[in-house]
Each structure stands twice: as C-alpha cells, then as structure tokens.
C-alpha cells in the first residue's frame, strides 16, 4: 500500500515536471511564431528599394521606409544625447556621493518613472514641447525617448558602479589625485563595460517604442530636413501601415517589423552573449 502511494507521488511529480516543461514551451512559442511570421511575410519585401525609397502616395504600391529608418536613428541619437549624460552622471552621484536615504528616494522615483506608461510620456512631452513650439518635431520625439532613457541609465549606472570594489577607489585616491579625476578616469572605466551594456539595452528598448512618438515626432511621409519638424520613425510607420486599409501597406509593415525586430534582438542577444548573461537587472 505504501509502495503504491509512493509510486503515485513519484508519478505525480513527474507529471507536474512535464507540465512545467510544457508551460515553458508555451511561453516561448509566441516568440517563435512571431519570428516565423515576420520572416515569412516580410522577408520578400526587403529589397534595396525598401531601404532607400520614400513611401509612395496612399493607394500606390511600392516605395520604402528609408525615411522611417533614418528617422529612428535620428531620434535615437537625440535620446542618447539627453539620456546618457544625465543618466550616467546621475548614477555617478548616487554611487560616489550619495547617502543611503537620498539614494533610496532617487531609486524609488526612478522606478516610478520606469513604470510610467509610455503613452503618458507622449502626452506630457506634447504639452511640454509640442504646444509651445506649435508643432510636432524631432526634438519632441527625441526628448520623449530621452526622458524614458534617463531612469533606466541612472539605475544601470548605479548598479554597475556599486560592483566596483572599494579597493580601486582607495588605490586611486592614494595616488594623490582628486576624487573627480579618480571617478572619471579610473572608476568609470572599470565599470565601463557594464554601463555600456545598460545603455545599449535602454537604446534597444527605446528604439521600439511607438506610443511616446505618436504626438511628438508624429511621423512624416517625406524626409525630415529640420529637427523642429515632424519626423518619421520605424515603429510609427509600422503602426500606421498595419492599421491602414491597403494590403501593400500591410506588406510593408511586415517588412519594417522584420527590420526592427532584427535590430532589437541583435542588440539584446549580442549584449547578453558578450556579458555572458550579466546584465544590469534594472534593464530587464
């Protein structure tokens, strides 16, 4: 009787282990399906004209997403210009000068910002920049993305600097150099790889965002010639094509999505391979 009961417990354990494995497969399944469909629907549309041509007028087939791809890069550049200096230097303060109480407050506030829905960032920057400027612009879009990057980079920087052993700080100061030089030239270099990892992951995240750009960068069917004008972005273009009425637009949306996901996954995978999985936990 005991033996039978034991066999039943073991069988139950094995069954549940199997169930957990199945759940794991179910969880990864969408990723596989998405990649499969992106390649199937989008690959054939990825020709040179896709990367070099502007969108054709509504209803006409053909054309490309060159302006959207370039636009995304421009917006990313603006975001990095805002997000990285503020984020890294802010993280430096927390790690090298901060107090326990202040750091807790900043971390708490940064977590609130990180949890803010991206659409909220969109309407806030709209009110902050688009309204006074009386128009949509690349500046507004870059600012929205940059604002999103700041709390991510601050947390990642603080985390990576905290991993630098104190003995290096002491060793640097024992050479008779002022603290600011020791931080900028020695300590930041030691934490450098980790910080760059955090910045890259923040870039990958911000590059795929659509909602903050809806009312800031707004999108543009032509080249942007002036940063105070609306600018196209890849996620925006994918969205407007996907919900649009034309099949040709849908085809291009798949192609654009394939480009976007390849870039996002390449950065994520590349970063994780190089760091062997040791990424700042706050960028997950």
């Amino acid at each position: 009787m005991n033996d039978l009961h034991h066999k039943w417990r073991k069988a139950k354990s094995a069954a549940i282990s199997g169930l957990c494995f199945v759940c794991g497969v179910i969880v990864i399944l969408p990723l596989a399906l998405i990649l499969f469909h992106l390649v199937r629907q989008g690959w054939s549309s990825l020709d040179l004209s896709f990367f070099t041509h502007l969108p054709k007028p509504a209803g006409e087939s053909g054309g490309g997403m060159a302006n959207a791809i370039v636009g995304s890069l421009v917006l990313l550049g603006l975001a990095v210009l805002i997000g990285v200096p503020v984020g890294v230097l802010g993280g430096v303060y927390l790690s090298e000068f901060g107090s326990i109480r202040l750091n807790w407050c900043v971390r708490f506030a940064a977590d609130i910002l990180n949890g803010t829905p991206s659409i909220v960032w969109g309407i806030v920057v709209w009110a902050l920049v688009v309204v006074p400027m009386k128009g949509f612009s690349a500046y507004a879009g870059g600012l929205a993305l940059g604002f999103m990057m700041i709390p991510l980079v601050v947390r990642a920087t603080e985390e990576m600097l905290a991993l630098v052993p104190n003995t290096y700080r002491e060793g640097a100061l024992a050479l008779g150099i002022p603290k600011w030089k020791s931080v900028l030239h020695i300590i930041l270099k030691i934490a450098g790889k980790g910080i760059i990892t955090g910045v890259l992951l923040a870039c990958a995240r911000v590059m795929g965002e659509t909602a903050p750009l809806l009312f800031t960068a707004f999108g543009n069917r032509f080249w942007n010639h002036n940063l105070s004008e609306p600018i196209a972005a890849l996620p925006l273009q994918i969205f407007s094509y996907a919900i649009g009425p034309y099949d040709d637009w849908h085809r291009q949306a798949w192609a654009g999505a394939l480009v976007l996901i390849v870039v996002a996954l390449a950065i994520n995978a590349g970063v994780r391979i190089i760091t062997r999985g040791n990424v700042p936990s706050t960028t997950k």
Binding site: I28, Y93, A109, I119, I123, P178, A211, I261, R272
Partner: protein, 322 residues
C-alpha cells in the same frame, strides 16, 4: 602645504605635478547632484503636465468622471468608466493567463531544467521581453486574432456559450484577444522576478525536504513555493503594472469600442488605447482635457500597483543583495 621645502631633502629634479585645487571636486559633486535631481524634476514635470492638462475636465466633471459611461465628443460628455473597465478586465485576465504559465516556467527554469538548458532558455524568455509592442500588435492583428476567431473562440462559444462570458458576435478583436496579447507581453517579467524569488530560497530548505523523502514536486511545493508567496504576489503586481500601461499591441487587437459588456468576445477600450487613438483628433479643450484625465487616472493606478509590487518584492531583494 609647502611641497618644495621638504622635498629638497629627497629626490633631486622632482617633476612638477599640477597644482591641486579643491574646486574640481566641489564642481563635480554639484554637477552630478544636478543630474541625479533630474529624476525628481522629471517626476514633477509628469505630474504637473498631467494635472494641468486634466484640470478643465476635473473642474467640469469632478469624480463622476470615473463612473460615467458616456463618451461623446460631440456633446462633450465624457465618462471614463468604459475605459477603466476595459483596462482592468483585459489586464486582470491577462494576468490570470500569464501567472500560472510564468510560475510554471520559473519553477522549470530554477528547479527542474538541466544545467545546459537553463541559460539558453532564460535568454529566450528575456528575448520575448525585447519584442516591441507594435510588432506584437502587428502579429496580433494579422495572425493571432484571425486564428483565435476561427478556432479557439468558436469552440469556446460552442462548448461554453451558456455563460454570458462567451456569448455575442465574435469579431476577433475583443477584450479576450487583448488579454492574451497582454499575457504574452508580461510573462517575461513575471518569470524573471519569480525566478529571483525562487533562487532566494536557501538551498538548505530544499535539502531538508529531500531528506524527508519528498519527491521533486513536493520539495518545490513545500520548500520553494510556500515560502515565496509574498514574492510571487509582488511579481504578479509588477506584471499587472506593466499590463496596465500597454498601449500599442492592445490598441491593435481590442476593437476600440467604448462599451461595457459581459462578453469576453465584445470589443473594448482601454485608457491607454483611448488616448492613443483620439488624442490627435481631439477638438476642443474639454475633449483634450478629458484625455489628459484618462492619462492621469492611468498613471495613478500604475504607480499604486508598482509601489505595492516593490513593497512586496523589496523585502526579497534586500535579503538577497544585502
């Protein structure tokens, strides 16, 4: 300090080092302090702009805004109830779908997976988190929703159609589709946090259970899951917080109709989707202000959920990282 006088007793031909100045340290500390304070400035900016934008609507409708169901831009009649309903139903349902899957996956990754499977599997789950919302939405509209409409939803209505949940015309785009898409999006974060919670359980707990002759599952249930309740709840809250803010993928599969219905197959509308769809076309100050009020409501709910999540997980995190 006079460096030259006493150095004469030692190495001759001493090279000149740059004269020190304490101003450098003070300036650097101030600069980095300003950058760190930007975080607080950003919080203030977000709060201020939302309140300022929502002020006219707040004045016009007051708290009734949250419980009225009309959404009529023409007559300037705005009530947020359909959106609040849609947001919560889709998010909570999404959480209900995601939570068991995430926990099972986390159990598998922490307790059961063989060593060589672990890291690649973890990376795969984290890759899912890297998929942009709009791409998930694209796949949702053209692949997932048609399949659900023609297969899963049909059979659900056939077999469970006596429940009001599964009645009504099946469009494909609906609250249930939004819930499924949300589930796909929040599984990675819940799995990731749950994994950390499980890893925080000391190995000695598991060993003690094994020593009592427990099977693998019993060890997991007794030693790991029962002591991780708080952390699991926190992970779920974090997932919920993420779910509430999801915009693009949800907008593309939820149907965008401001209705409250008992059926899961009915199209719905969330706070985020409403803002995304209607902001550009909002005419009139009250219309715009109403949308800002939606944003404010969304932000407040998200903040509360996230704080709750951090309080629950914070204890776990602090113990682990010391």
């Amino acid at each position: 300090m006079n460096a030259s006088a006493s150095s004469q007793a030692h190495a001759p031909g001493k090279i000149a080092l740059s004269p020190p100045s304490r101003a450098g340290d003070a300036a650097f500390k101030f600069l980095t302090w300003c950058m760190a304070m930007m975080i607080f400035v950003l919080v203030a900016v977000v709060g201020w702009e939302l309140f300022a934008g929502a002020a006219p609507a707040l004045k016009a409708f007051g708290w009734r805004f949250l419980v009225r169901s009309d959404w009529n831009p023409v007559s300037s009649d705005f009530g947020a109830l359909p959106f609040i309903f849609g947001t919560f139903v889709s998010s909570l349902l999404g959480l209900a779908i995601a939570l068991p899957l995430s926990l099972a996956t986390a159990v598998y990754l922490t307790e059961l997976a063989p060593g060589w499977v672990r890291q690649p599997a973890i990376s795969l789950v984290e890759m899912l988190a890297a998929v942009p919302s709009v791409i998930l939405g694209l796949w949702g509209i053209f692949v997932m929703v048609p399949w659900l409409r023609d297969h899963l939803f049909k059979s659900l209505q056939k077999h469970l159609g006596f429940l009001p949940l599964f009645q009504g015309h099946i469009y494909g785009v609906c609250v249930l589709s939004a819930a499924i898409i949300i589930a796909i999006m929040i599984v990675p974060i819940i799995t990731s946090i749950s994994r950390e919670v499980f890893r925080a359980v000391p190995e000695t707990q598991r060993e003690a259970a094994f020593a009592l002759g427990a099977t693998r599952w019993e060890v997991t249930r007794l030693a790991v899951l029962s002591s991780s309740r708080r952390g699991i709840f926190g992970a779920a809250m974090l997932g919920l917080g993420r779910a509430l803010g999801e915009t693009m993928a949800v907008t593309m599969v939820i149907g965008n109709r401001p209705e409250i219905s008992a059926s899961l197959f009915a199209p719905g509308y969330t706070l985020a989707s409403a803002i995304a769809n209607e902001f550009s076309e909002a005419t009139g100050d009250i219309y715009l202000s109403a949308l800002f009020e939606l944003g404010l409501a969304l932000l407040l709910v998200t903040i509360i959920i996230n704080i709750l999540a951090h309080v629950l997980i914070g204890a776990v995190g602090r113990e682990k990282h010391g």
